[in-house]
């Protein structure tokens, strides 16, 4: 799901950066008001977990690979704005040190995996887990569903970014200048792998982690989860 260098036209990656700058600024402001210094270690652990879990490429035999992101888990534990920050740092480190995702595509990749994914996951989790006890099975189900839906939402926005390239950027000969496959190919291709396989991996990881943490660290679920609005000071 990491869009590489050269797959997006400037008229895509430019606006993606332009959208991300204020989102990063808002995330910083929200966290300044709501992030307790007691929670910073958990944020670092969450980001490290996200980094590592993305390295587990899950193969579809004879097909493509994909991976979970951990973004839903961070959003559930620390709120979506914390997840924006944590996953963005992960994606920047991946691009700069390991060439995973393009430098020009950092804004786009952050939008998909560090904004769409945590916010969608968080909304699903809050909706489904409402008034569930810390260790209730419904909370685990909500977490798993959040991972599944969130990853698929991110895969969809990523596929749309890939798929619009041939239409918006082609040479005088009509040949695509960047990602060559149109929406009709990109969206089904990305959706299939994520709907059928990778989404379930994200669901399992998120569900298992929440079940484990609800048992070992119940204080994480005792207080009301941070609201999307963030300010809880």
């Amino acid at each position: 799901m990491h869009i590489p260098e050269g797959y997006l036209s400037p008229q895509t990656w430019g606006p993606a950066y332009a959208v991300m700058v204020p989102i990063w600024a808002i995330a910083g402001r929200k966290l300044r008001g709501s992030l307790s210094s007691r929670r910073v270690p958990l944020l670092a652990i969450g980001a490290a977990f996200s980094f590592v879990i993305m390295m587990f490429n899950i193969p579809i035999p004879g097909g493509s690979t994909g991976h979970a992101t951990g973004a839903a888990l961070i959003a559930i534990l620390l709120g979506p704005w914390a997840a924006v920050l944590a996953v963005s740092v992960v994606l920047v480190v991946q691009a700069l040190l390991f060439g995973d995702g393009g430098i020009t595509a950092i804004g786009a990749n952050c939008f998909n995996m560090a904004v769409v994914m945590p916010f969608v996951s968080y909304a699903v989790y809050r909706l489904v887990s409402v008034r569930a006890a810390a260790r209730a099975p419904r909370r685990v189900f909500a977490a798993a569903l959040a991972g599944y839906v969130g990853l698929n939402a991110a895969a969809l926005t990523t596929a749309v970014m890939f798929g619009i390239q041939p239409a918006i950027a082609h040479g005088p000969d009509g040949r695509p200048l960047y990602s060559p496959y149109p929406l009709a190919i990109a969206v089904p291709a990305m959706a299939a792998g994520h709907l059928l396989v990778f989404g379930f991996v994200e669901a399992a990881i998120t569900g298992v982690a929440v079940a484990y943490l609800a048992r070992t660290e119940p204080d994480l679920f005792a207080a009301p989860a941070p609201a999307i609005g963030g300010a809880r000071s």
Binding site: G6, R39, L42, F51, N57, S64, F162, R175, S233
Partner: protein, 114 residues
């Protein structure tokens, strides 16, 4: 919160990351959709899109694909060690950046409203 125990879980996962390159190899899976190199794209569609070719090598990462540069022909054990080492370096750098950002952003303990 028992941060130590959670860190151990993350470190164990980091050591296990070579599974993330071994399993796809075993099952004959290709890379992720849409993340092909220019050569592979040329094979698929018969040309390398011009704009893509121009900036594909814009950035030279120190350890592309979480691998040790120059170890491409080495045994799987070498690849696995390089991959796990990349996981450890990556998670360490990520955690340090988050700690720095978090310390800068977080409200001090005791200063929060009653």
């Amino acid at each position: 919160m028992n941060a130590r125990r959670l860190w151990i879980v993350v470190l164990i996962l980091a050591v296990l990351t070579p599974l993330g390159i071994w399993l796809p190899q075993r099952l004959g899976a290709e890379g992720a959709w849409g993340e092909w190199g220019p050569g592979e794209l040329d094979r698929q569609i018969g040309f390398v899109p011009r704009g893509l070719a121009r900036i594909a090598n814009l950035w030279n990462a120190p350890a592309p694909d979480y691998a040790h540069p120059g170890w491409e022909g080495r045994s799987f054990a070498h690849q696995g060690v390089a991959y796990a080492a990349s996981a450890l370096v990556g998670l360490l750098v990520t955690a340090l950046v988050i700690y720095a950002l978090g310390r800068w952003l977080a409200r001090r303990e005791g200063s929060h409203a009653p």
